[in-house]
Amino acid sequence: MKRLVVDLQRCSGCKRCELACALEHSSSKEYLDVFKSKDGLKPRIFVESIGDRPVPVVCRHCADPLCVSACMAGCMQKDIQSGVVNNQGYEQKCVGCWMCIMACPFGVILTSSIDSKASDCTFPQAIKCDFCPNKATPACVEACPNEVLTVEES
C-alpha cells in the first residue's frame, strides 16, 4: 500500500508540487499549454494555508475509501496491490456523477470539463491523485525542493 506522507514543518508553500502535478497530468506536458487549456491548472494536490502556514492537503488513498462506496458507475476503485484509489483504467467508466466529490471528506477530488481532444469520453470526469502511474515516484514528490513529501510503502 502506497501513500504520501507530509512533513508540515518543512513546507515553504512554494506550490511546486501543484505545478508538477498539473503538468504531469496534462496531455502536452508543456506549462504554456496547461495554462492556455480550457481547464487551466488543475493540480490534484492542494497547498492550502491557515493564516501564514502552508498545509499541503493530499489524497490519503484511504483504507476504506468513501469515494469508492459512493461511485455509482463502479469506476472508482482501490487497487488491491498498490492501494491506489483512482477512477481511470478500469472496465467501468466515469460518467461525471460527482458522487465521489460529495463523499470525499478531504475535498481532494475535482471536476474536469469535457476535453474532447484528450480522450473519447463523453462526460466530464472526476479527477484525483492517481499516484502518477507512469512514473516511479509521483511528480509532486520529485518536484518538492524541501523534502516535504515522501512516499511510504506499507
Partner: protein
C-alpha cells in the same frame, strides 16, 4: 453459514462483497428479481440518450459473482419468508434456507392517481427494462411529457431532450427538485435544462393521460392539452416492505432496523432504499433512496452479518450529486430552509454570483446542510464536517472563502490514517517560524 441476500442492486452487492471479505468459506446467495446482472439504476438515463452502452451500466466486473463465489439467482422473486424454519420460498416454489438474511428489496416507482396509466407509451423510469423499452420507442416519437420533477423525472427529461424530443415536465410544486433543492438552486438547474429546450409547467398536476390504446397526450388543468407520444411517470417511490410486513417484521414507512441494521428478528438484516434511517442532520427518521446510503448500509449490514459488529450511525437522508447539462450541483443534509425564521436556531450563510450558488445551514455552531451549485469543489469536506458534527465556531467568517479547506481541520482524521508527520508542539503557536528555521537548517 449461509448468507441469503434478497435484492440485486447497490446494497445487496456491497453486502455480498463485504461478507466475502470477512468470511471466505460461507455460502452467499443473491436472489434478484432483475433479469440483468447488477447494474446501476442511476445511469439508465445516460443509456437512454445513448451516451453509454448497456455494458457500461454494470457497476461490477463480469466475473464479480464468480470471483467472490456468490451464487446469483436472477429473474426470481422471493414470495415469502418463513422465520420459524429460517427459509424463504421463491416464486418458482423452490425453498432456500438461510442462517443470516438480508432484505435489500429497494423501492419501486409510485403509480400516480391519474387515469389511463396503462396505455401504451406510458413508462416508469426505474429499471433497465424500462430504459430499453423507452429507447426502442424513441425512434418514432417527437414529443414527451414527464410527470414529476424529482431527480428521476429530470434525468428522464434531460435524456429525452438530448434525443431531440420536445419535452414538457409537469410538477405540482412550484419548483424542480422540491425535496432536494431550495428555490434558488432549483431555478439554476431549471435554467440549465431549459437551455436544452425542456419546458416546465409548475403548480399543476396531470389530470388525465389521453389516448386510445396508445398515449396521444396529457391533459393538465381543464383546458391545457399537451400532445405526447411518450409519458414518463416519475412521481416518487414506494418502499418494497411487503415481504418484511408479511413476515411479521416491524415496519413503518420503511423496514425498521436498529443501529446494527438488524430488523426486529436478529438474524434478518435490512439495508438500502427499503429501510428507515435516523437522519443525523434533521433528527428525524426518514426513508432515503440514494446510492451512497445503500452501499454504506450494505457494507455495514454485511459486516454485522459476518459477525464483525459495526454501528451504523452516519445516516444522512439527503445526499445528492447531479449534473444534468452544464451545471453540477450537490445537496447534502438539511439545507432546505428557504427563509430565515427569526425564531429558529438555524443560521444560513449563502453566496450567489455568476452562476455559482453556495448555501450553508448552521445550527448551534455545527453545519447541518449544504447546497452547492455551479462550483461543487470540496463539497465532501463540508459534508464530513456535517457528518462528524465538527464545531466550526472558530471559522465562521471564513466558511465560504475559496481557501477554506480541510487544512483548518487537519487534526480531524475522519477515521482515516493521517498523512501528516507529527509536528512539534510550537508549530501551532505564534513561534512556528522558529521551528521552521530549525527544521530547515537555516
Amino acid at each position: 453459514m449461509h448468507y441469503l441476500l434478497i435484492g440485486g442492486s447497490a446494497a445487496a452487492v456491497a453486502a455480498a462483497e463485504t461478507i466475502r471479505g470477512l468470511d471466505k468459506e460461507g455460502l452467499i446467495t443473491i436472489v434478484s428479481r432483475e433479469k440483468y446482472y447488477p447494474y446501476s439504476r442511476c445511469l439508465i438515463s445516460r443509456f437512454v440518450d445513448g451516451r453509454i452502452s448497456q455494458d457500461n451500466l454494470y457497476f461490477k466486473t463480469r466475473d464479480f459473482f464468480k470471483r467472490h463465489k456468490i451464487d446469483g439467482i436472477l429473474s426470481t422473486e422471493v414470495k415469502k419468508i418463513d422465520r420459524g424454519e429460517k427459509k424463504v420460498i421463491l416464486d418458482n416454489n423452490k425453498e432456500l434456507s438461510y442462517d443470516k438474511l438480508l432484505l435489500a428489496t429497494g423501492a419501486r416507482p409510485r403509480l400516480p392517481k391519474i387515469d389511463n396509466t396503462d396505455l401504451k407509451g406510458v413508462y416508469f423510469f426505474h429499471s433497465l427494462e424500462d430504459a430499453s423499452l423507452i429507447k426502442e420507442e424513441l425512434v418514432k416519437i417527437t414529443d414527451a411529457v414527464v410527470i414529476g420533477s424529482g431527480f428521476v423525472g429530470l434525468e428522464a427529461a434531460y435524456a429525452l431532450a438530448r434525443r431531440r424530443l420536445k419535452v414538457t415536465v409537469i410538477e405540482r410544486c412550484s419548483q424542480v427538485l422540491p425535496n432536494q433543492m431550495d428555490t434558488i438552486a432549483a431555478r439554476i438547474i431549471q435554467q440549465d435544462l431549459e437551455s436544452l429546450g425542456v419546458e416546465f409547467i409548475f403548480n399543476e398536476s396531470a389530470i388525465v393521460i389521453n389516448g386510445e390504446e396508445r398515449v396521444s397526450g396529457v391533459t393538465v388543468s381543464d383546458q391545457d392539452y399537451i400532445p405526447a407520444g411518450l409519458v414518463i411517470l416519475a412521481t416518487g417511490t414506494v418502499v418494497n416492505k411487503e415481504l418484511a410486513q408479511e413476515a411479521g417484521l416491524a415496519t413503518e414507512n420503511g423496514i425498521l432496523v436498529n443501529e446494527f441494521l438488524q430488523t426486529s428478528e436478529p438474524d434478518i438484516y435490512a439495508a438500502g432504499d427499503c429501510i428507515e434511517i435516523q437522519d443525523i442532520t434533521s433528527g428525524k427518521r426518514v426513508v432515503s433512496a440514494t446510492w451512497f446510503n445503500a452501499v454504506l448500509q450494505g457494507k455495514f449490514a454485511g459486516s454485522n452479518m459476518a459477525s464483525f459488529s459495526k454501528r451504523y450511525s452516519i445516516g444522512v437522508g439527503i445526499q445528492n450529486a447531479v449534473q444534468f447539462h452544464q451545471i453540477p450541483a450537490i445537496s447534502y443534509g438539511m439545507a432546505m430552509l428557504d427563509t430565515e425564521d427569526p425564531h429558529s436556531d438555524y443560521e444560513v450563510v449563502a453566496i450567489e454570483e455568476k452562476g455559482v450558488y453556495k448555501k450553508l445551514v448552521i445550527r448551534e455552531n455545527r453545519l447541518c446542510g449544504i447546497i452547492f451549485v455551479g462550483d461543487i469543489s470540496k463539497a465532501g469536506f463540508y459534508a464530513a464536517l456535517i457528518r462528524h458534527g465538527v464545531d466550526i465556531s472558530k471559522h465562521k467568517s471564513k466558511l465560504l472563502d475559496p481557501d477554506f479547506s480541510y487544512a483548518y481541520f487537519k487534526e480531524y482524521d475522519f477515521s482515516e490514517k493521517p498523512p501528516y508527520k507529527k509536528v512539534n508542539l510550537c508549530w501551532d503557536s505564534q513561534y512556528w517560524w522558529r521551528e521552521k528555521v530549525r527544521c530547515m537548517g537555516i
